[in-house]
Amino acid sequence: MKFAVRVACVAFLTALVGWGCGGGGGDSSDQGGSSAPASSAGGSSSAGASHAASGATATLMGKVNLAGAAPERNPLKMTADPACAQQHEDMPALAQDVIVNDQGMLKNVFVYVKNGLEGHEFDTPEEPVVLDQKGCVYTPHVIGMMVKQDLKILNSDPTLHNIHALPKVSGNKEFNLGMPRQGMEFSKTFENPEVMIRIKCDVHPWMASYVGVLPHPYYAVSGDDGGFRIADLPAGEYTIEAWHERYGTQAQTITVGDSPNVEVSFTFQSTGS
């Protein structure tokens, strides 16, 4: 009975923290506050479930900071395609590679468990991860997904795009698809883990997106406030890596024990403009 109460308390606290941080579910990108992957809540297999049942899970959360002056976000020149430019007549779209808020918190950092889950197997989520081409930018800019999970690619723009994935790991196939009409969609999967796969549009050279493909659901992307949250992490010792497209990677080793929450933060150093 005591065990069941403890599990219920952990679950309640986890949900509370998740709600308070604005994550807790589907979107891992543009919401303010922390973010959590859709798969982190329900993607665990029996291995993860058994850990959860024992109560020995924790929520990993933290923030990503950028030290030093953040580079100015330059407006994207979209004049080469009037259909793109017209969508940003009121306010030009800005470069998406480095997005920092007033407190110096860095958005679009992919945080994931790099080591420590070897030997575990996780079910592939049935729901796809969605990558949209809207306003001639990719939404989201950085995204995580599991191996063999569907990546649903949409074209919401009134112009043509090609979508060109550039994996480097053997077994992940490069593809280049034309999406000439608004409303078109494709689904693609990647067969092997890879951090990160660059996706670009060769028609609009400013368009780039990055996909982290993992064999497990323990990943997140930092949100507007630089926060991230990875739920239901089983007890153990892990290497957590943070990846940013401009500033590279950082890794830390953490231990998940009895505490329901583990905090870890990353600080990247600005390299100027």
Binding site: A80, D81, L160, H164, G178, P180, V203, P205
Partner: protein, 331 residues
Amino acid sequence: MTSNLPDPANRLQPAGSTPSIWLHRYAVFVAVCTALLVFAGGLVTSTGAGLSVPDWPLSYGMLMPPMVGNVRFEHGHRMVATTVGMLTIVLAVWLQRREPRAQVRRLGWLALGAVVLQGLLGGLTVLLLLPTPVSVAHASLGQTFFCIVVSLALLTSPGWRRATPRSGGASQLRKLALLLTAVVYVQLIAGALMRHSGAGLAIPDFPLAFGRVVPPFESTEVMVHFAHRVLAACVFVAAVATGIHALRHHRGERRLLAPALLLFYLVLIQIVLGGFAIWTQKAVVPTTLHVLNGALILATSLVLTLRSFRLLQPQAHIRQLEPQLREQVVT
């Protein structure tokens, strides 16, 4: 010692047959269009537009997609290529009908075969997502096709038919020009390899390489890039040697001196353009002009080579042909 003799090549020409001046002008027009095609192809690589149209032979399933973004460069290249292909068909047929020299007629059909193969390679490189060997083959065949068309423009010119071979001091310029053409061609392949393997900025400074004369060979890209620079030095030396030789021994022959001097200036411009390509981080204009100017260097060295073989015959060869040629003139 020099002697003027009738053109042995004209023996292939039936009496009374005069190729149309319009055929020559048309061949020149095709050559100019091919130079534009080389520029358009260079533009595709410089702008990174090679895969902006993912299908082939159609473009986004259409004959004419919206010309937006980088589609302008890739589909524009396809349009110019199609036009040059059509022009080459007309050229081959026209040569077949009006050109008396069998070799020149065959060269016309060779041009057509080359442009068709070039189109197929272009489609293949798009469908296979720009594999380096196919892209380099596409770039190299493009230069070869340009050479064939330039040769046709030269061979159909009235000046070529009127030219009379001379003897004396012949072999050196012929050898120099041939060597230069060969080195330039190899250099263009090396340049294509550098561009298509992403080694264009593997050495980020110029004229030094990582602040040294010889860079540390830490990657294949650095080696490929440095090979292009070494070959550029070879081209420069060969161009200077050819120019000096032409100035010293063929000052009175404008048809040899002009391309020899032009080559020297084009090579100088090419080196400066190569420098700008690096200093500007491969800005589109200098990088594309570098590609076009490379093709012009190849064409000019080829013209010099062909003219040197045409105008300068070894003395022994002239002596051997003399009775036969004189007899032909009498009859």
